[in-house]
Subunit: 379 residues, 2 copies
């Protein structure tokens, strides 16, 4: 791993698999464990980039699939890359579209070459290959780029999962090859780190095989993919707990598409360092705020005259300035400001949750912290 993407292990919890670290990138250092707010279309919905800094986001995620379709990755490249285009100074990670071509593509046809899919916007036909996805992600210029993989659905037959995982490995090799070429060509831009994605559905031996093969490629970071796609929570955590320890201790581990606060806590305990999910932002727009005790429905009539903040003691601007009564009014009247204030709180809450976990890990009291969190939080 180059110095640009050095992962520094700061502390390991004595009682769990939890770790605290620092991931260095060309756009700054990220303290882990970290939650990445999702900015699908080069915007974390309702938040401007100052808001993201104020909410203490360290790194955000954008989607290659969406940006390829609109406004086009080449346009973003001509505008100086994603950082410049969206005016975000911190690190960015781009998802490869592996998840989106399956979940959003109206029809898709998978072959060894890649995936032919129809745009969810206008039905137009497109082909993503490991090579073309690398070209897209290089044009976007995120600090961390994800390999193009097949994200298998749940449930998934063992034979299909095995064959798919093998193809994902071949695709990873093709991604790495094209990534190296592009990195050598595009020296006018900061270097980018290619992360591999462990697939294998819920089958432990397939996960192990995939992890080991990816580790042999010596990539700067590894993700666990293909989870949070409908499987029971127990099954998801069996995979997480089984896979995380297989991954190198000196590299970051990223659990894709997870999750709710209690999922984050449990996954950190299993040794995960990085997360992304639309949970805080999408829930906010649906009128749901997160607190230490669980979810709070903003439209609930019991908030109508409640002068208290969403969460007592929360330092976010929403809780510092606005009452539950005002927020409920904004949601009852479909006012856009409600979406913004709830989003800000939720993003801030997730960042605070991660900071709290990190502090507990560093101070060697994560197990106690986790027990206290679990006693309070009701999903």
């Amino acid at each position: 791993m180059s110095e640009d993407f050095r992962y520094e292990l700061v502390a390991s919890d004595p009682d769990t698999g939890a770790r605290a670290g620092v991931l260095h990138t060309p756009h700054g250092a990220i303290e882990t464990p970290v939650f990445m707010p999702v900015g699908t279309q080069a915007t974390v919905k309702t938040l401007d980039q100052h808001d993201l800094e104020e909410a203490r986001a360290q790194i955000i995620l954008a989607n290659a699939y969406h940006l390829y379709l609109r406004p086009g990755h080449q346009l973003i490249d001509r505008m100086g890359g994603l950082h410049s285009f969206m005016h975000w100074r911190g690190p960015i990670l781009t998802d490869s579209g592996g998840f989106q071509v399956f979940s959003l593509g109206e029809l898709n046809k998978i072959s060894e070459e890649g995936v032919r899919f129809q745009s969810h916007l206008d039905g137009s036909y497109h082909l993503f290959t490991p090579e073309s996805v690398m070209e897209i992600e290089h044009a976007l210029g995120a600090d961390i780029i994800m390999a193009f993989d097949e994200c298998t659905p749940y449930p998934c037959e063992r034979d299909y999962a095995a064959a798919s995982m093998q193809m994902t490995l071949r695709w990873a090799e093709r991604c790495l090859g094209r990534h190296r070429e592009l990195s050598a060509e595009r020296t006018h831009r900061p270097p980018q780190a290619l992360f591999g994605i462990v697939q294998g559905s819920i089958y432990p031996d397939l996960r192990q095989y995939c992890a080991e093969a990816l580790i042999d490629m010596d990539l700067p970071g590894y993700a666990i993919g293909g989870l949070a796609v409908g499987e029971p929570r127990k099954a998801m955590f069996e995979v997480v707990r089984g896979t995380a320890p297989l991954l190198p201790a000196q590299k970051p581990r990223y659990l894709m598409g997870v999750g709710l606060p209690h999922d984050l806590v449990e996954a950190v305990a299993a040794g995960i360092d990085m997360f992304d999910c639309v949970v805080p932002t999408r829930n906010a727009r649906n009128g749901t705020a997160f607190t230490r005790t669980g979810r709070l429905r903003l439209k609930n009539a019991r908030h109508a005259e409640d002068p208290s903040p969403l969460e007592a003691g929360c330092d976010c601007k929403t809780c510092t300035h606005y009452s539950r009564a005002y927020l409920r009014h904004l949601f009852q009247t479909n006012e856009l400001l409600g979406l913004h204030l709830a989003t800000f709180h939720n993003v801030f809450f997730f960042q605070q949750l991660m900071r709290d976990m990190r502090a507990a890990i560093i101070e060697g009291r994560f197990a106690t912290w986790q027990a206290e969190f679990s006693a309070l939080y009701r999903d």
Copy 2:
């Protein structure tokens, strides 16, 4: 006029009717001429109260009609009034609902008593009287409250306009009576100033009659109402230019529901001090930004790769940080952040426009400034 609402005339332009002043209120001083962003439902759409301060808004407008329906003026009263409810520290003006019961009420029945109307939300029946509107506006607690009037449509027969104006005057007396009672009762809240509204459609003698009768009531400020309701621009300015000079020089003059940038400039030249309009905010949400040269359609394809800001030299956060290309992308993809950034710019632009006019008036060069503005601005 009490000390709480003292209007201080700072400068009068030698060549036009333009004036610069300071209007003192219990929540701070307002430098005039001033444009009040519209916060119909206790929120200036997409802006939080910090944004409003950053956009340099001095006073905002809220609507008694909307807040009476949702969340209810009594609820807001119990929450400590509108300032506390929406966490806005500066001055607020509430419109009386005179305009809304006509424009939004599905059916309305006008009588000497008041207006029976149906809610635009659920069709429920309601009665607004001059007395009940004062009760609503006192419960909301804005610094400046508007009398309940009949806002006549355009065109309007002279006989109807005359009779309506006479009723508006009788309603103003009833408003003043109830306002005095409520002010004496509600000493736990800062004092409020009741402004009268001059009606009389496009008939100069009716406007003069109404203005003189209201002046006899010695109210702390006067509005010109019943304009921007569909009449030709020329007719509107004949009324403005005819009516403004009739109003006392030592009191603020407010032109309701106006307007576009060139309207503001022309009305300031006619001696108007205060304005409100949904133009900057609603246009922003429709993808239209205001600049010194006119309106700019954000979705226009020519902005697709334009790295320049909405307006070169504009100090607003949108222009400081984001390109036309990024803003166009946000509008093309229906991203909420686009609505916010365009709204911020437009509100800032209107505030800057008013500050520029004020500086020109104080420096005795308003006519020159106006000529330069008009040479550049194309509506």
